[in-house]
Amino acid sequence: MIVERAAEPDLTVQPVLTVEDVSIRYEVDPPVDAVRGVSFTLHRGEILGLAGESGCGKTTLAYGITRLLKPPAVMTGGRVVLHGRAGRDAGGDQDDDEATTDVVALTGEELRRFRWDRVSIVFQGSMNSLNPVMTVRDQLHDVFTTHRPGMRRRVREQRCRELLELVGVDPARLASFPHQLSGGMRQRVMIAMALALDPQVMVMDEPTTALDVVVQRSIIREIMVLRERLGFAVIFITHDLPLLIEISDRIAVMRDGEVVELGTAEQIYRAPQADYTKQLLASFPSLSGTRGGFVRGREEVLGA
């Protein structure tokens, strides 16, 4: 039951990632169908917000797209296609970046090479995404030594410094261990790392929930700046609908493993179609506007 609204078809935008009818199940007792037949298209350079309450399958979907599902999760069906830059189909002698890739079919070495290079991901808790016993430098270098084996050490180091500068962290922090950085800094390091290989898509799963609002804001702004400059597409996952509305181009609202509504931020905010979307919106009393669904005290209900 997808309420996809025909946004004005913009022919200049090209799809970068197509998700078709993806279903994911947790093989537990009883099995949990966490994602059920989800389809959407992500366009180049776009921020797609993925909203929905806790447990609706957002993280599972993100893992599915990036082929990171861990046992007992199984993708039971669907296709995930990453399109080449010019929309060309995969050919033998083409650069990886240019190829159109059936992500679900990737295995082994191919899958490993695909990861991070073309789709990177920033997880929910950045606190735990960095290995506590390796320096920031080692963990950044890791990406290059694996994916760009020919790269010189000096160049690598240079690139790491640039990346940190890019996200506003002092390059001297390369030598630090994660626990020596604040939460916000760690989050930025993770973003820098996600940008390292200039991926086409970056999945951000609640990258800022653990941070306080002011820091959160500055990081989001950072991401938007980088997106403008580097042109990657972002799938931004959060349950903070107001935030999504403020920053996303389009928003998909999920419930119980299904996308119940997909539309531009404006459409979702101004004219939500699905009941669930409305209910969600009502859960956030507006800061500057009316109380929304917040009714304070019996008499006001009566009075309203």
Partner: protein, 334 residues
């Protein structure tokens, strides 16, 4: 730095406690090594009376200091200890306890050290592997190790000796080296090292078999837990090679608690080696300990206990220092 200060302080207190315990125990309970020694001398001389000078000299060496308060004795004890004087053995009168221990300690250190490191490395590597391949048939290895852990050391040793050494003649039966080939005792030669090594195999195997399961299990459990940590998932998402994820991200972090437990486990292995040494007539401190206990040789008992404790403490201390290098977090958080 605070971490190191704290640990150093801890060890200082522990050493003090061990030494003081060692000082107090024999004094809390009466038992007179001098009387035992005099009794032995008398039996040896076929019931002939001993001259008063002999009795006096034995009392002077072994007997309790007369007319001193406990506190003074304590200070004297420390003073002697700091000069490396652990007293005179009464079962091996008049050998100095220090000399007895000095001759025995290297054997134990080498045997226990080798066996422990071997068992640790084996256990960690196997545990990492089993943990990494969780959900496969390898899981069934884990319960099997509990049987190994539950077999009494000495029982295993006796069975191994009976089967491998006596029946099959694959290994030497007793001793730390071939006394027939080296009647003059240890020497610095290749042949001797080979002999010592072949004699150490069976005792070491016993220790390894009985202790490897613990490491394997601990490492496997940590590995399973670590595998679900976000940073491991991140490492996979980064497209790192599985071997690198396994070694640098999963196994390395999973091994940290085992390393922390290494020093403590050493204590258990030392305990195991005491009984193992007994079975193999291995010339280590464990043997001395057993003899001291059965002969109520308090000086020797105290000396061996102190040396074992200090050695284990030293090993722990070294581990602690290393731990700080391996886990950067402890350097700042105490």
């Amino acid at each position: 730095m605070a971490f190191y200060l704290r640990r150093t302080a801890f060890y200082a207190v522990t050493v003090w406690a061990a030494v003081s315990l060692n000082f107090l125990l024999p004094r809390l309970l009466p038992g007179d090594p001098a009387a035992i020694m005099i009794g032995k001398l008398r039996r040896a001389s076929g019931g002939r009376p001993l001259s008063p000078e002999v009795i006096a000299s034995i009392n002077a060496v072994l007997g309790p200091p007369k007319g001193t308060s406990l506190w003074e004795q304590y200070l004297i004890y420390w003073g002697r200890l700091l000069h490396g004087d652990l007293g005179i053995s009464s079962t091996r009168y008049p050998a100095r306890v220090v000399d007895l221990i000095a001759a025995a300690l290297p054997w134990t250190v080498v045997l226990v050290g080798t066996a422990t490191v071997l068992s640790f490395v084996l256990g960690i590597v196997a545990g990492a592997w089993v943990g990494w391949r969780r959900g496969t048939w390898l899981d069934h290895l884990v319960p099997v190790t509990t049987v190994l852990q539950s077999i009494p050391y000495f029982w295993l040793a006796l069975v191994l000796v009976a089967v491998l050494a006596v029946q099959l003649g694959m290994f030497p039966i007793v001793g730390g080296y071939d006394v027939f080939d080296f009647p003059a005792g240890p020497e610095a030669s290749w042949a001797f090292l080979v002999s010592a090594f072949t004699h150490a195999i069976l005792p070491a195997v016993t220790i390894v078999i009985s202790s490897v399961g613990g490491w394997l299990l601990g490492m496997r459990n940590m590995m399973v837990a670590t595998m679900s940590e976000d940073y491991v998932v991140t490492a996979q998402a980064k497209g790192l090679r599985p071997s690198r994820v396994r070694s640098r991200y999963a196994a390395r972090n999973a091994a940290i608690p085992s390393l922390a437990g290494f020093g403590i486990a050493l204590g258990f292995v030392v305990a195991g080696s005491i009984v193992t040494e007994q079975v193999f007539s291995y010339p280590g401190v464990g043997r001395l300990m057993i003899q001291a206990v059965s002969g109520l040789d308090y000086s020797l008992m105290q000396g061996v206990f102190l040396v074992i404790t200090l050695t284990v403490l030293a090993a722990n201390f070294v581990m602690d220092l290393l731990y700080g290098l391996i886990d950067p977090r402890v350097r700042t958080h105490a």
